[in-house]
Protein backbone atom coordinates (compact mmCIF):
# COMPACT_ATOMS: atom_id res chain seq x y z
CA UNK A 1 0.00 0.00 0.00
CA UNK A 2 2.75 2.37 1.02
CA UNK A 3 4.76 1.53 -2.07
CA UNK A 4 1.66 2.08 -4.18
CA UNK A 5 1.09 5.55 -2.77
CA UNK A 6 4.62 6.80 -2.73
CA UNK A 7 7.19 6.08 -5.37
CA UNK A 8 10.78 6.43 -4.17
CA UNK A 9 11.07 9.95 -2.85
CA UNK A 10 13.68 11.05 -0.34
CA UNK A 11 11.55 14.00 0.78
CA UNK A 12 9.98 13.80 4.24
CA UNK A 13 6.47 14.54 5.40
CA UNK A 14 4.33 12.88 2.73
CA UNK A 15 2.21 10.89 5.16
CA UNK A 16 1.48 13.73 7.52
CA UNK A 17 0.87 16.29 4.75
CA UNK A 18 -1.50 14.07 2.77
CA UNK A 19 -3.18 12.80 5.94
CA UNK A 20 -3.82 16.31 7.20
CA UNK A 21 -5.00 17.45 3.75
CA UNK A 22 -7.53 14.64 3.42
CA UNK A 23 -8.73 14.95 7.01
CA UNK A 24 -9.18 18.73 6.82
CA UNK A 25 -10.82 18.52 3.38
CA UNK A 26 -13.25 15.92 4.74
CA UNK A 27 -14.13 17.84 7.90
CA UNK A 28 -14.50 21.29 6.36
CA UNK A 29 -15.87 20.50 2.90
CA UNK A 30 -16.93 16.91 2.21
CA UNK A 31 -18.81 16.03 5.40
CA UNK A 32 -20.84 19.29 5.48
CA UNK A 33 -21.64 18.95 1.76
CA UNK A 34 -22.77 15.37 2.27
CA UNK A 35 -25.23 16.69 4.89
CA UNK A 36 -27.17 18.35 2.06
CA UNK A 37 -27.54 15.05 0.20
CA UNK A 38 -28.32 13.12 3.39
CA UNK A 39 -31.04 15.62 4.27
CA UNK A 40 -32.56 15.30 0.81
CA UNK A 41 -32.70 11.51 1.14
CA UNK A 42 -35.01 11.96 4.14
CA UNK A 43 -37.53 13.38 1.64
CA UNK A 44 -39.54 11.01 -0.49
CA UNK A 45 -38.96 11.32 -4.24
CA UNK A 46 -42.44 12.81 -4.72
CA UNK A 47 -41.85 15.37 -1.98
CA UNK A 48 -38.50 16.30 -3.54
CA UNK A 49 -40.06 16.74 -7.00
CA UNK A 50 -42.94 18.73 -5.54
CA UNK A 51 -40.46 21.01 -3.74
CA UNK A 52 -38.28 21.78 -6.74
CA UNK A 53 -41.09 22.05 -9.29
CA UNK A 54 -43.31 24.41 -7.28
CA UNK A 55 -44.03 27.34 -9.65
CA UNK A 56 -42.21 29.89 -7.51
CA UNK A 57 -39.13 27.65 -7.14
CA UNK A 58 -39.14 26.80 -10.83
CA UNK A 59 -39.36 30.48 -11.75
CA UNK A 60 -36.41 31.28 -9.46
CA UNK A 61 -34.29 28.46 -10.94
CA UNK A 62 -35.17 29.63 -14.46
CA UNK A 63 -34.15 33.19 -13.59
CA UNK A 64 -30.88 32.14 -11.92
CA UNK A 65 -29.81 29.88 -14.80
CA UNK A 66 -31.21 32.10 -17.57
CA UNK A 67 -29.73 35.35 -16.30
CA UNK A 68 -26.41 33.60 -15.54
CA UNK A 69 -26.30 32.31 -19.11
CA UNK A 70 -27.09 35.73 -20.57
CA UNK A 71 -24.53 37.42 -18.30
CA UNK A 72 -21.86 34.87 -19.21
CA UNK A 73 -22.55 35.42 -22.93
CA UNK A 74 -22.25 39.19 -22.46
CA UNK A 75 -19.02 38.64 -20.55
CA UNK A 76 -17.67 36.34 -23.25
CA UNK A 77 -18.13 39.06 -25.89
CA UNK A 78 -17.00 42.06 -23.87
CA UNK A 79 -14.40 40.09 -21.89
CA UNK A 80 -12.72 39.08 -25.14
CA UNK A 81 -12.87 42.69 -26.31
CA UNK A 82 -11.39 44.03 -23.05
CA UNK A 83 -8.62 41.39 -23.08
CA UNK A 84 -7.83 42.21 -26.72
CA UNK A 85 -7.64 45.95 -26.03
CA UNK A 86 -5.47 45.41 -22.93
CA UNK A 87 -3.06 43.17 -24.83
CA UNK A 88 -2.89 44.95 -28.17
CA UNK A 89 -3.57 48.66 -27.79
CA UNK A 90 -1.36 50.72 -25.50
CA UNK A 91 -3.29 53.63 -24.01
CA UNK A 92 -2.80 55.92 -21.04
CA UNK A 93 -3.74 54.26 -17.77
CA UNK A 94 -3.69 50.75 -19.22
CA UNK A 95 -1.93 49.32 -16.16
CA UNK A 96 -4.53 50.89 -13.85
CA UNK A 97 -7.41 49.55 -15.97
CA UNK A 98 -5.73 46.14 -16.07
CA UNK A 99 -5.54 46.05 -12.26
CA UNK A 100 -9.13 47.28 -11.83
CA UNK A 101 -10.53 44.47 -14.02
CA UNK A 102 -10.11 42.23 -10.96
CA UNK A 103 -12.29 44.52 -8.83
CA UNK A 104 -15.32 42.15 -8.89
CA UNK A 105 -13.06 39.45 -7.34
CA UNK A 106 -11.96 41.74 -4.53
CA UNK A 107 -15.06 43.85 -3.87
CA UNK A 108 -17.45 42.26 -1.35
CA UNK A 109 -20.68 41.30 -3.08
CA UNK A 110 -22.86 43.33 -0.70
CA UNK A 111 -20.88 46.47 -1.58
CA UNK A 112 -21.22 45.72 -5.28
CA UNK A 113 -24.93 45.15 -4.77
CA UNK A 114 -25.73 48.47 -3.12
CA UNK A 115 -23.40 50.38 -5.47
CA UNK A 116 -25.00 48.91 -8.61
CA UNK A 117 -28.46 49.56 -7.18
CA UNK A 118 -27.60 53.21 -6.50
CA UNK A 119 -26.23 53.66 -10.03
CA UNK A 120 -28.95 51.75 -11.93
CA UNK A 121 -31.96 52.82 -9.81
CA UNK A 122 -34.57 54.98 -11.65
CA UNK A 123 -32.98 58.07 -10.08
CA UNK A 124 -29.37 56.83 -10.41
CA UNK A 125 -26.58 58.15 -12.61
CA UNK A 126 -27.11 55.52 -15.32
CA UNK A 127 -30.61 54.36 -14.41
CA UNK A 128 -32.17 57.82 -14.87
CA UNK A 129 -30.93 58.46 -18.42
CA UNK A 130 -31.92 54.89 -19.38
CA UNK A 131 -35.41 55.44 -17.98
CA UNK A 132 -35.81 58.94 -19.47
CA UNK A 133 -34.40 58.23 -22.93
CA UNK A 134 -35.42 54.62 -23.56
CA UNK A 135 -38.03 53.92 -20.88
CA UNK A 136 -35.88 51.01 -19.70
CA UNK A 137 -36.07 50.14 -16.02
CA UNK A 138 -32.99 48.26 -14.80
CA UNK A 139 -32.94 48.09 -11.00
CA UNK A 140 -35.75 46.05 -9.35
CA UNK A 141 -36.40 44.07 -12.57
CA UNK A 142 -34.83 40.90 -14.06
CA UNK A 143 -32.59 43.26 -16.05
CA UNK A 144 -31.06 44.33 -12.72
CA UNK A 145 -30.19 40.68 -12.02
CA UNK A 146 -28.41 40.60 -15.38
CA UNK A 147 -26.42 43.76 -14.55
CA UNK A 148 -25.25 42.35 -11.19
CA UNK A 149 -24.27 39.01 -12.75
CA UNK A 150 -22.45 40.74 -15.61
CA UNK A 151 -20.51 42.70 -12.98
CA UNK A 152 -19.38 39.71 -10.91
CA UNK A 153 -18.50 37.60 -13.97
CA UNK A 154 -16.50 40.33 -15.69
CA UNK A 155 -12.94 39.25 -14.75
CA UNK A 156 -13.28 35.54 -15.60
CA UNK A 157 -13.20 35.77 -19.41
CA UNK A 158 -10.64 38.60 -19.42
CA UNK A 159 -8.24 36.67 -17.18
CA UNK A 160 -8.52 33.35 -19.02
CA UNK A 161 -8.26 34.87 -22.52
CA UNK A 162 -5.55 37.49 -21.81
CA UNK A 163 -2.57 35.09 -21.48
CA UNK A 164 -3.57 33.28 -24.69
CA UNK A 165 -3.77 36.56 -26.59
CA UNK A 166 -0.36 37.56 -25.23
CA UNK A 167 1.13 34.36 -26.65
CA UNK A 168 -0.61 34.76 -30.00
CA UNK A 169 1.86 34.92 -32.87
CA UNK A 170 1.32 38.11 -34.81
CA UNK A 171 3.08 36.56 -37.78
CA UNK A 172 0.03 34.36 -38.32
CA UNK A 173 -2.28 37.36 -38.56
CA UNK A 174 0.15 39.21 -40.78
CA UNK A 175 0.47 36.15 -42.99
CA UNK A 176 -3.32 35.94 -43.23
CA UNK A 177 -3.61 39.61 -44.12
CA UNK A 178 -0.80 39.51 -46.64
CA UNK A 179 -2.60 36.59 -48.27
CA UNK A 180 -5.57 38.89 -48.69
CA UNK A 181 -7.74 38.11 -45.67
CA UNK A 182 -9.88 40.95 -44.37
CA UNK A 183 -9.76 41.90 -40.70
CA UNK A 184 -13.02 40.04 -40.10
CA UNK A 185 -11.69 36.91 -41.82
CA UNK A 186 -8.44 37.08 -39.85
CA UNK A 187 -10.44 37.35 -36.63
CA UNK A 188 -12.83 34.49 -37.38
CA UNK A 189 -10.35 32.11 -39.04
CA UNK A 190 -7.09 32.81 -37.19
CA UNK A 191 -7.64 34.49 -33.83
CA UNK A 192 -10.93 32.98 -32.68
CA UNK A 193 -9.91 29.30 -33.10
CA UNK A 194 -6.80 29.91 -31.00
CA UNK A 195 -8.61 31.58 -28.12
CA UNK A 196 -11.74 29.39 -28.30
CA UNK A 197 -10.80 26.92 -25.50
CA UNK A 198 -9.80 29.74 -23.12
CA UNK A 199 -12.91 31.71 -24.06
CA UNK A 200 -15.13 28.71 -23.33
CA UNK A 201 -13.37 28.12 -20.00
CA UNK A 202 -13.88 31.75 -18.99
CA UNK A 203 -17.50 31.57 -20.09
CA UNK A 204 -18.10 28.43 -18.02
CA UNK A 205 -16.39 29.94 -14.96
CA UNK A 206 -18.44 33.14 -15.23
CA UNK A 207 -21.62 31.10 -15.68
CA UNK A 208 -20.86 28.87 -12.68
CA UNK A 209 -20.15 31.87 -10.48
CA UNK A 210 -23.28 33.72 -11.64
CA UNK A 211 -25.68 30.80 -11.05
CA UNK A 212 -24.99 30.75 -7.32
CA UNK A 213 -24.47 34.48 -6.81
CA UNK A 214 -26.47 36.03 -3.97
CA UNK A 215 -25.03 39.17 -2.35
CA UNK A 216 -24.76 41.48 -5.34
CA UNK A 217 -28.14 40.41 -6.77
CA UNK A 218 -30.57 40.70 -3.87
CA UNK A 219 -30.21 44.48 -3.56
CA UNK A 220 -30.75 45.30 -7.23
CA UNK A 221 -33.29 42.56 -8.08
CA UNK A 222 -36.31 43.85 -6.17
CA UNK A 223 -36.94 40.17 -5.29
CA UNK A 224 -40.50 39.91 -6.60
CA UNK A 225 -41.75 36.29 -6.46
CA UNK A 226 -42.12 34.75 -9.95
CA UNK A 227 -40.42 37.79 -11.54
CA UNK A 228 -37.07 38.76 -10.06
CA UNK A 229 -36.45 36.24 -7.29
CA UNK A 230 -33.25 34.18 -7.71
CA UNK A 231 -32.83 30.56 -6.56
CA UNK A 232 -30.34 31.30 -3.73
CA UNK A 233 -32.83 33.81 -2.29
CA UNK A 234 -35.50 31.11 -2.52
CA UNK A 235 -33.27 28.93 -0.31
CA UNK A 236 -32.90 31.74 2.23
CA UNK A 237 -36.66 32.40 2.21
CA UNK A 238 -37.44 28.72 2.83
CA UNK A 239 -34.90 28.63 5.67
CA UNK A 240 -36.52 31.67 7.27
CA UNK A 241 -39.84 29.79 7.12
CA UNK A 242 -38.10 26.84 8.87
CA UNK A 243 -38.63 24.71 5.73
CA UNK A 244 -35.12 23.24 5.96
CA UNK A 245 -35.95 20.22 3.77
CA UNK A 246 -37.41 22.45 1.04
CA UNK A 247 -34.39 24.73 1.16
CA UNK A 248 -32.06 21.73 0.94
CA UNK A 249 -33.93 20.29 -2.06
CA UNK A 250 -33.23 23.49 -4.05
CA UNK A 251 -29.66 23.50 -2.75
CA UNK A 252 -29.10 19.96 -4.03
CA UNK A 253 -30.36 20.92 -7.50
CA UNK A 254 -27.88 23.81 -7.52
CA UNK A 255 -25.05 21.64 -6.13
CA UNK A 256 -25.53 19.01 -8.84
CA UNK A 257 -25.57 21.73 -11.49
CA UNK A 258 -22.39 23.31 -10.13
CA UNK A 259 -20.58 19.96 -9.88
CA UNK A 260 -21.47 19.29 -13.51
CA UNK A 261 -20.10 22.72 -14.41
CA UNK A 262 -16.93 22.09 -12.41
CA UNK A 263 -16.36 18.87 -14.34
CA UNK A 264 -17.03 20.71 -17.60
CA UNK A 265 -14.50 23.41 -16.67
CA UNK A 266 -11.88 20.79 -15.76
CA UNK A 267 -12.51 19.04 -19.06
CA UNK A 268 -12.24 22.32 -20.95
CA UNK A 269 -8.96 23.20 -19.28
CA UNK A 270 -7.56 19.76 -20.09
CA UNK A 271 -8.73 20.21 -23.69
CA UNK A 272 -7.24 23.69 -24.01
CA UNK A 273 -3.86 22.46 -22.73
CA UNK A 274 -3.86 19.65 -25.28
CA UNK A 275 -5.11 22.04 -27.93
CA UNK A 276 -2.29 24.49 -27.18
CA UNK A 277 0.27 21.70 -27.30
CA UNK A 278 -1.13 20.36 -30.56
CA UNK A 279 -0.98 23.77 -32.18
CA UNK A 280 2.52 24.58 -31.04
Amino acid sequence: MRALLRRHSVLPGFGIALGFTVLYLSLVVLVPLSAAFQKTFTLSWDAFVADVTAPRVLASLQLSFGAALAAALLNAVFGLLVAWVLVRYPFHGRRLVDALVDLPFALPTAVAGIALTAVYAPNGWIGKPLADLFGVKVAFTPLGVLVALAFIGLPFVVRTVQPVLEDLERELEEAAQSLGATRAQTFVRVILPTVAPALLTGFALAFARAVGEYGSVIFIAGNMPMVSEIAPLMIVTKLEQYDVAGATAIAVVMLVASFALLLAVNGLQWWSRRYAEARS
Binding site: F20, A106, L107, A150
Partner: protein, 279 residues
Protein backbone atom coordinates in the same frame (compact mmCIF):
# COMPACT_ATOMS: atom_id res chain seq x y z
CA UNK B 1 9.84 52.86 -32.22
CA UNK B 2 8.88 54.96 -35.23
CA UNK B 3 10.94 52.68 -37.45
CA UNK B 4 9.25 49.59 -36.06
CA UNK B 5 5.86 51.14 -36.62
CA UNK B 6 6.78 52.16 -40.17
CA UNK B 7 7.85 48.69 -41.24
CA UNK B 8 4.62 47.32 -39.88
CA UNK B 9 2.59 49.87 -41.77
CA UNK B 10 4.52 48.99 -44.90
CA UNK B 11 3.83 45.32 -44.37
CA UNK B 12 0.13 46.03 -44.08
CA UNK B 13 -0.64 48.79 -46.56
CA UNK B 14 -4.27 49.06 -45.47
CA UNK B 15 -3.40 49.57 -41.78
CA UNK B 16 -3.22 53.36 -41.93
CA UNK B 17 -6.53 53.65 -43.69
CA UNK B 18 -8.48 51.80 -40.97
CA UNK B 19 -6.59 53.01 -37.88
CA UNK B 20 -9.96 53.89 -36.40
CA UNK B 21 -10.56 50.21 -35.56
CA UNK B 22 -8.19 50.14 -32.54
CA UNK B 23 -9.63 53.47 -31.41
CA UNK B 24 -13.22 52.27 -31.66
CA UNK B 25 -12.49 48.95 -29.94
CA UNK B 26 -10.65 50.69 -27.10
CA UNK B 27 -13.54 53.13 -26.71
CA UNK B 28 -16.16 50.35 -26.55
CA UNK B 29 -14.07 48.32 -24.07
CA UNK B 30 -13.53 51.34 -21.82
CA UNK B 31 -17.22 52.28 -22.05
CA UNK B 32 -18.20 48.76 -20.93
CA UNK B 33 -15.76 48.90 -18.00
CA UNK B 34 -16.97 52.40 -17.11
CA UNK B 35 -20.63 51.31 -16.96
CA UNK B 36 -19.97 48.18 -14.94
CA UNK B 37 -16.85 48.95 -12.89
CA UNK B 38 -15.72 52.53 -12.60
CA UNK B 39 -19.08 54.25 -12.07
CA UNK B 40 -20.27 51.80 -9.35
CA UNK B 41 -16.88 52.02 -7.59
CA UNK B 42 -16.97 55.80 -7.64
CA UNK B 43 -20.61 55.75 -6.46
CA UNK B 44 -19.62 53.94 -3.24
CA UNK B 45 -17.36 56.80 -2.14
CA UNK B 46 -19.65 59.51 -3.50
CA UNK B 47 -22.70 58.18 -1.62
CA UNK B 48 -20.61 57.62 1.53
CA UNK B 49 -19.54 61.26 1.66
CA UNK B 50 -22.76 62.78 0.31
CA UNK B 51 -23.85 63.98 3.75
CA UNK B 52 -20.38 65.13 4.76
CA UNK B 53 -17.54 63.85 6.89
CA UNK B 54 -19.50 64.19 10.13
CA UNK B 55 -22.10 61.59 9.09
CA UNK B 56 -19.36 59.40 7.64
CA UNK B 57 -17.32 59.30 10.85
CA UNK B 58 -20.44 58.88 12.99
CA UNK B 59 -21.58 55.88 10.93
CA UNK B 60 -18.24 54.12 11.39
CA UNK B 61 -17.74 55.07 15.04
CA UNK B 62 -21.18 53.76 16.01
CA UNK B 63 -20.96 50.80 18.49
CA UNK B 64 -22.80 48.28 16.26
CA UNK B 65 -20.50 49.18 13.35
CA UNK B 66 -17.47 48.68 15.61
CA UNK B 67 -18.76 45.32 16.79
CA UNK B 68 -19.27 44.32 13.15
CA UNK B 69 -15.75 45.41 12.23
CA UNK B 70 -14.28 43.46 15.17
CA UNK B 71 -16.20 40.29 14.24
CA UNK B 72 -15.14 40.62 10.58
CA UNK B 73 -11.49 40.93 11.64
CA UNK B 74 -11.84 37.96 14.03
CA UNK B 75 -13.36 35.68 11.36
CA UNK B 76 -10.59 36.57 8.90
CA UNK B 77 -7.91 36.20 11.61
CA UNK B 78 -9.01 32.59 12.17
CA UNK B 79 -9.98 31.54 8.64
CA UNK B 80 -6.87 32.83 6.85
CA UNK B 81 -4.15 31.18 9.04
CA UNK B 82 -6.04 27.87 9.25
CA UNK B 83 -6.38 27.70 5.47
CA UNK B 84 -2.78 28.85 5.09
CA UNK B 85 -1.55 25.81 7.03
CA UNK B 86 -3.86 23.58 5.01
CA UNK B 87 -2.71 25.15 1.74
CA UNK B 88 0.96 24.49 2.51
CA UNK B 89 0.28 20.89 3.56
CA UNK B 90 -1.88 20.19 0.50
CA UNK B 91 0.61 21.78 -1.90
CA UNK B 92 3.51 19.85 -0.31
CA UNK B 93 1.74 16.50 -0.72
CA UNK B 94 0.42 17.24 -4.22
CA UNK B 95 3.40 19.02 -5.77
CA UNK B 96 6.30 17.05 -4.30
CA UNK B 97 4.99 13.47 -4.37
CA UNK B 98 3.29 11.11 -6.82
CA UNK B 99 0.25 9.20 -5.69
CA UNK B 100 -2.97 7.81 -7.08
CA UNK B 101 -6.05 9.99 -7.07
CA UNK B 102 -4.04 13.21 -7.14
CA UNK B 103 -6.19 14.88 -9.78
CA UNK B 104 -9.36 13.92 -7.88
CA UNK B 105 -7.90 15.54 -4.75
CA UNK B 106 -7.08 18.73 -6.69
CA UNK B 107 -10.64 18.88 -8.04
CA UNK B 108 -12.12 18.32 -4.57
CA UNK B 109 -10.03 21.18 -3.16
CA UNK B 110 -11.64 23.51 -5.72
CA UNK B 111 -15.16 22.44 -4.70
CA UNK B 112 -15.98 25.40 -2.40
CA UNK B 113 -15.45 27.78 -5.35
CA UNK B 114 -18.28 26.17 -7.26
CA UNK B 115 -20.77 26.08 -4.38
CA UNK B 116 -23.26 28.94 -4.08
CA UNK B 117 -22.49 31.09 -0.99
CA UNK B 118 -26.01 30.47 0.33
CA UNK B 119 -25.56 26.69 0.02
CA UNK B 120 -22.18 27.03 1.81
CA UNK B 121 -24.05 28.49 4.77
CA UNK B 122 -26.93 26.03 4.53
CA UNK B 123 -24.73 22.93 4.87
CA UNK B 124 -23.46 24.16 8.25
CA UNK B 125 -27.06 24.72 9.36
CA UNK B 126 -27.72 21.08 8.42
CA UNK B 127 -24.76 19.92 10.53
CA UNK B 128 -24.92 22.23 13.54
CA UNK B 129 -28.44 23.77 13.40
CA UNK B 130 -31.25 23.02 15.87
CA UNK B 131 -32.51 20.11 13.72
CA UNK B 132 -29.06 19.23 12.38
CA UNK B 133 -26.76 16.27 13.07
CA UNK B 134 -25.22 17.79 16.20
CA UNK B 135 -28.15 20.08 17.10
CA UNK B 136 -29.45 18.09 20.06
CA UNK B 137 -25.95 17.43 21.41
CA UNK B 138 -25.08 21.13 21.21
CA UNK B 139 -28.31 22.12 22.99
CA UNK B 140 -27.59 19.58 25.75
CA UNK B 141 -24.15 21.10 26.26
CA UNK B 142 -25.49 24.64 26.09
CA UNK B 143 -23.33 25.48 23.08
CA UNK B 144 -24.29 27.26 19.89
CA UNK B 145 -22.64 27.22 16.50
CA UNK B 146 -25.40 28.49 14.22
CA UNK B 147 -26.60 32.04 14.91
CA UNK B 148 -23.35 32.50 16.86
CA UNK B 149 -19.71 33.40 16.21
CA UNK B 150 -18.42 29.81 15.59
CA UNK B 151 -20.84 29.42 12.67
CA UNK B 152 -19.58 32.63 11.10
CA UNK B 153 -15.98 31.45 11.46
CA UNK B 154 -16.85 28.04 9.94
CA UNK B 155 -18.62 29.63 6.97
CA UNK B 156 -15.62 31.94 6.43
CA UNK B 157 -13.23 28.98 6.57
CA UNK B 158 -15.32 27.10 3.99
CA UNK B 159 -15.52 29.91 1.43
CA UNK B 160 -11.78 30.74 1.67
CA UNK B 161 -10.72 27.08 1.73
CA UNK B 162 -9.11 26.73 -1.76
CA UNK B 163 -7.32 30.09 -2.17
CA UNK B 164 -3.83 29.38 -0.75
CA UNK B 165 -3.69 25.76 -1.95
CA UNK B 166 -4.73 26.83 -5.41
CA UNK B 167 -1.94 29.45 -5.64
CA UNK B 168 0.75 27.17 -4.21
CA UNK B 169 0.09 23.88 -6.06
CA UNK B 170 0.99 25.04 -9.62
CA UNK B 171 3.88 27.15 -8.30
CA UNK B 172 5.45 24.31 -6.31
CA UNK B 173 4.85 21.86 -9.16
CA UNK B 174 6.69 24.19 -11.55
CA UNK B 175 9.64 24.44 -9.16
CA UNK B 176 10.12 20.68 -9.01
CA UNK B 177 11.86 18.67 -6.30
CA UNK B 178 15.55 19.17 -7.07
CA UNK B 179 16.27 21.84 -4.46
CA UNK B 180 14.46 19.94 -1.71
CA UNK B 181 16.20 16.69 -2.62
CA UNK B 182 19.58 18.42 -2.55
CA UNK B 183 18.80 19.88 0.87
CA UNK B 184 17.83 16.45 2.22
CA UNK B 185 21.05 14.92 0.89
CA UNK B 186 22.97 17.71 2.64
CA UNK B 187 21.30 16.70 5.89
CA UNK B 188 18.41 19.13 6.29
CA UNK B 189 15.50 17.96 8.44
CA UNK B 190 11.84 18.46 7.48
CA UNK B 191 11.51 21.71 9.41
CA UNK B 192 14.65 23.24 7.87
CA UNK B 193 13.49 22.09 4.45
CA UNK B 194 10.18 23.91 4.83
CA UNK B 195 11.54 27.16 6.29
CA UNK B 196 14.83 27.46 4.41
CA UNK B 197 14.02 25.99 0.98
CA UNK B 198 10.36 25.52 0.10
CA UNK B 199 8.62 28.52 1.65
CA UNK B 200 11.23 31.13 0.55
CA UNK B 201 10.80 29.84 -3.00
CA UNK B 202 7.04 30.35 -3.01
CA UNK B 203 6.75 33.40 -0.75
CA UNK B 204 5.08 35.64 -3.35
CA UNK B 205 2.53 33.04 -4.32
CA UNK B 206 1.87 32.44 -0.64
CA UNK B 207 1.35 36.15 -0.01
CA UNK B 208 -0.94 36.34 -3.04
CA UNK B 209 -3.10 33.50 -1.72
CA UNK B 210 -3.26 35.10 1.73
CA UNK B 211 -4.31 38.47 0.27
CA UNK B 212 -7.09 36.90 -1.78
CA UNK B 213 -8.42 34.73 1.02
CA UNK B 214 -8.37 37.68 3.41
CA UNK B 215 -10.42 39.79 0.98
CA UNK B 216 -12.93 36.98 0.56
CA UNK B 217 -13.13 36.27 4.32
CA UNK B 218 -13.78 39.90 5.19
CA UNK B 219 -16.25 40.43 2.37
CA UNK B 220 -18.25 37.19 2.45
CA UNK B 221 -21.97 37.84 2.53
CA UNK B 222 -24.20 34.94 1.45
CA UNK B 223 -22.69 32.10 3.50
CA UNK B 224 -22.29 34.24 6.61
CA UNK B 225 -25.78 35.67 6.20
CA UNK B 226 -27.37 32.20 6.44
CA UNK B 227 -25.56 31.20 9.66
CA UNK B 228 -25.50 34.60 11.37
CA UNK B 229 -29.04 35.21 12.59
CA UNK B 230 -28.32 38.95 12.24
CA UNK B 231 -28.06 39.76 15.94
CA UNK B 232 -26.87 43.35 16.15
CA UNK B 233 -23.60 43.90 17.92
CA UNK B 234 -23.13 40.12 18.31
CA UNK B 235 -23.29 38.15 15.05
CA UNK B 236 -23.20 40.87 12.40
CA UNK B 237 -20.15 41.11 10.22
CA UNK B 238 -19.47 44.31 8.33
CA UNK B 239 -21.19 43.16 5.09
CA UNK B 240 -24.28 42.12 7.10
CA UNK B 241 -24.24 45.45 8.95
CA UNK B 242 -24.27 47.20 5.57
CA UNK B 243 -27.33 45.19 4.52
CA UNK B 244 -29.23 46.13 7.69
CA UNK B 245 -28.40 49.83 7.35
CA UNK B 246 -29.38 49.76 3.68
CA UNK B 247 -32.71 48.05 4.37
CA UNK B 248 -33.41 50.70 7.03
CA UNK B 249 -32.85 53.40 4.38
CA UNK B 250 -29.75 54.69 6.21
CA UNK B 251 -28.02 55.00 2.86
CA UNK B 252 -25.19 57.34 3.89
CA UNK B 253 -24.25 55.08 6.81
CA UNK B 254 -24.52 51.93 4.67
CA UNK B 255 -22.24 53.41 2.02
CA UNK B 256 -19.83 54.71 4.70
CA UNK B 257 -19.33 51.14 5.95
CA UNK B 258 -19.27 49.90 2.35
CA UNK B 259 -16.50 52.39 1.55
CA UNK B 260 -14.29 50.68 4.18
CA UNK B 261 -14.69 47.37 2.34
CA UNK B 262 -14.21 49.08 -1.03
CA UNK B 263 -10.94 50.54 0.29
CA UNK B 264 -9.96 47.03 1.42
CA UNK B 265 -10.68 45.81 -2.13
CA UNK B 266 -8.52 48.57 -3.64
CA UNK B 267 -5.67 47.80 -1.22
CA UNK B 268 -6.06 44.11 -2.15
CA UNK B 269 -5.77 44.95 -5.85
CA UNK B 270 -2.76 47.21 -5.25
CA UNK B 271 -0.99 44.50 -3.21
CA UNK B 272 -1.87 41.93 -5.86
CA UNK B 273 -0.39 44.08 -8.63
CA UNK B 274 2.71 44.66 -6.50
CA UNK B 275 3.15 40.95 -5.75
CA UNK B 276 2.72 40.10 -9.43
CA UNK B 277 5.41 42.60 -10.38
CA UNK B 278 7.79 41.03 -7.82
CA UNK B 279 7.33 37.41 -8.79
Amino acid sequence: MAAVLDTRLEARPNARRIAWVPLALTAVALAWLTLFLFVPLFAVFFEALRKGWGTYVAAIAEPDAWAAIRLTLLAAAIAVPVNLVFGIAAAWAIAKFDFRGKSVLVTLIDLPFSVSPVVSGLIFVLVFGAQGWFGAWLTDHDARVIFAVPGIVLASVFVTFPFVARELIPLMQAQGRDEEEAAVLLGANAWQLLWRVTLPNVKWGLLYGVILSNARAMGEFGAVSVVSGHIRGVTNTLPLHIEILYNEYQFAAAFACASLLALLALVTLALKTWVESRS
